[in-house]
């Protein structure tokens, strides 16, 4: 199955800048584009709070520009398509996020994001910028076995971290507490993704990988990285029955647990399909005695127009539920 190669862009080299301009023109009440290309909150948070910043490759919209706003991130440093921004831009972002309570640099674990954040922190040290911490986040069970969690990739389930951490950093917690909270949410979150199709790179105009019609890949990464292997494409219930058990076993999630559920659309999956998939997931969770506290179904972290989805679960306690329910006002994440 061939992917759509023609993208509605102008020149590949202008994608990043034009996309950020368009986004900020549309959502100026929430987010603002700075002269040095950062997307920052239209209304900065109060002095003394912990600033939250993340750098990441683009091409995953609404992630992460869509999560800039009250109760969410302060600053997003968007890199080129599928490419982490370099260290100097991250330092710019750290400066912009600083409102006196220190800055937490979030890293969704991929080599580029991690290496550039490390370099940025070295630069900060060299320039005497203190009170900066980095937290490395991951959730994808397909990318490394149990016991080697810290080698795993960061994928759509980090959504739970962003939401709760964002809410936390509206409060009076300090930098160390914010980092601990992020790690707590991460350590209670597990995800697994699949895809039925490839997608085209808007830079090269070429299909990113081959995916034969009627096959699917379980464990697909956010940039089309291969996972646990190909197999014949299944129906909705069978797909959930294949993907949910390894997620449950990994944490493990157990009877009596309360969870949040995310079904992330990686691009061109229809909501029609996602609702049918959710139906079986909810049924299977109920069978396992696991209570669903809340659910989100939609495109949160996409891989261009790839036809796939990720199933993410986050086990929550009282603290996490309160953070989950707290208000948020990003362009693509609104909660009253």
């Amino acid at each position: 199955m061939s992917a759509r190669k023609h993208k509605l862009i102008n020149r590949p080299e202008d994608i990043l800048g034009e996309m950020l301009e368009g986004f900020c023109a549309a959502y100026g009440d929430v987010a603002r584009l700075t002269d040095n290309g950062l997307v920052v909150r239209a209304q900065p948070k109060a002095a003394g709070k912990v600033g939250l910043v993340i750098g990441n490759g683009s091409g995953h919209e609404p992630a992460m520009i869509g999560w800039i706003g009250e109760g969410l991130f302060d600053v997003n440093i968007a890199g080129e398509i599928f490419t982490a921004p370099g260290p100097e831009r991250i330092v710019d972002g750290i400066r912009a996020a600083d409102c006196g309570g220190g800055v937490l640099v979030c890293v969704s674990h991929h080599a580029g994001d991690l290496l550039n954040a490390e370099l940025a922190l070295e630069l900060c040290e060299a320039e005497g910028i203190t009170d900066v911490e980095m937290v490395v986040l991951y959730d994808d069970i397909s990318s490394a076995p149990k016991g080697r969690e810290s080698e795993r990739r960061g994928t759509a389930g980090l959504f739970f971290v962003w939401k709760m951490l964002g809410a936390f950093c509206e409060g009076d917690g300090d930098l160390a507490a914010a980092k601990a909270l992020a790690e707590k949410v991460r350590d209670n979150t597990r995800s697994l993704a699949m895809s039925l199709s490839s997608c085209a790179s808007p830079i090269t105009g070429e299909v990113m990988f081959e995916m034969p019609e009627d096959e699917m890949e379980i464990g697909m990464g956010l940039h089309g990285e291969m996972g646990m292997g190909r197999q014949k494409a299944l129906g909705a219930d069978a797909t959930i029955d294949l993907m949910l058990p390894p997620i449950l076993e990994d944490l493990p999630f157990a009877a009596g647990d309360e969870v949040l559920v995310l079904l992330n659309n990686s691009g061109s999956m229809t909501l029609m399909e996602l609702f049918i998939l959710y139906r079986r997931a909810a049924e299977a969770l109920a069978e396992a005695g696991i209570r669903v506290y809340g659910s989100w179904i939609g495109p949160y972290a996409t891989t261009q127009e790839m036809a796939g989805f990720a199933l993410s679960l986050c086990r929550v306690d009282v603290e996490m539920k309160a953070l989950w329910d707290a208000p948020a006002n990003g362009a693509y994440m609104k909660q009253a």
Binding site: E80, G86, A111, L115, L119, S143, S201, I203, T204, E206
Partner: protein
Amino acid sequence: MSHIGSAEVAELIAAVARRVGEGRERLNRLDAKLGDGDHGTSISAAFALAVEQIAVLDQPEPAEIWLATAKALMNGMGGASGALFGTLFLKGVAPARGKGALTKLDVEAMWRAGLDGVKARGKAGVGDKTMVDALQPAVDAFAASDDFSGAWPAAAEAARAGAEASAAMIARQGRAKFLGERSIGHQDAGATTIALMFEAVQMWWETRE
């Protein structure tokens, strides 16, 4: 020549930028097999940026040229490869610091520091199908020769052979690692860039001599 000064170092980077620019499509094609197909586009743009930024330096030392190159690669390229190619040059700055002209031993120390930096940051060793597979043999071959005239061709030849050898390997770092055995049979793009770099320097050296 037993020393190279700032003018030569700048020429060297310019030669690399030209050669990598010529290899752009080939590098994209190689990266398309194992990664996301952009390596040629981004590395050539980053080296072109390095040349621009070197041009505006005011009477730079070799170390400053090396630093400008490092920054252009890191910030102009981004991604893991930007950090790693950037580190290759960044770590070479310290051994060059304060020197108006570089001996073969100076340059050897710069490459060695760069190689060590890349390996420390990227956690890849020889055999993992990355730029290290070309870089390590190149640095070793450079060290094993007595002077520039022996070192540059030896390094170029070793880098080329290392890049070619990467084809048979299973990727253990970079985007390609998720391909596992499916990565066998394709030469690594980053290693190929290293080979092009040393090839360019050798050719530049030949025309200088």
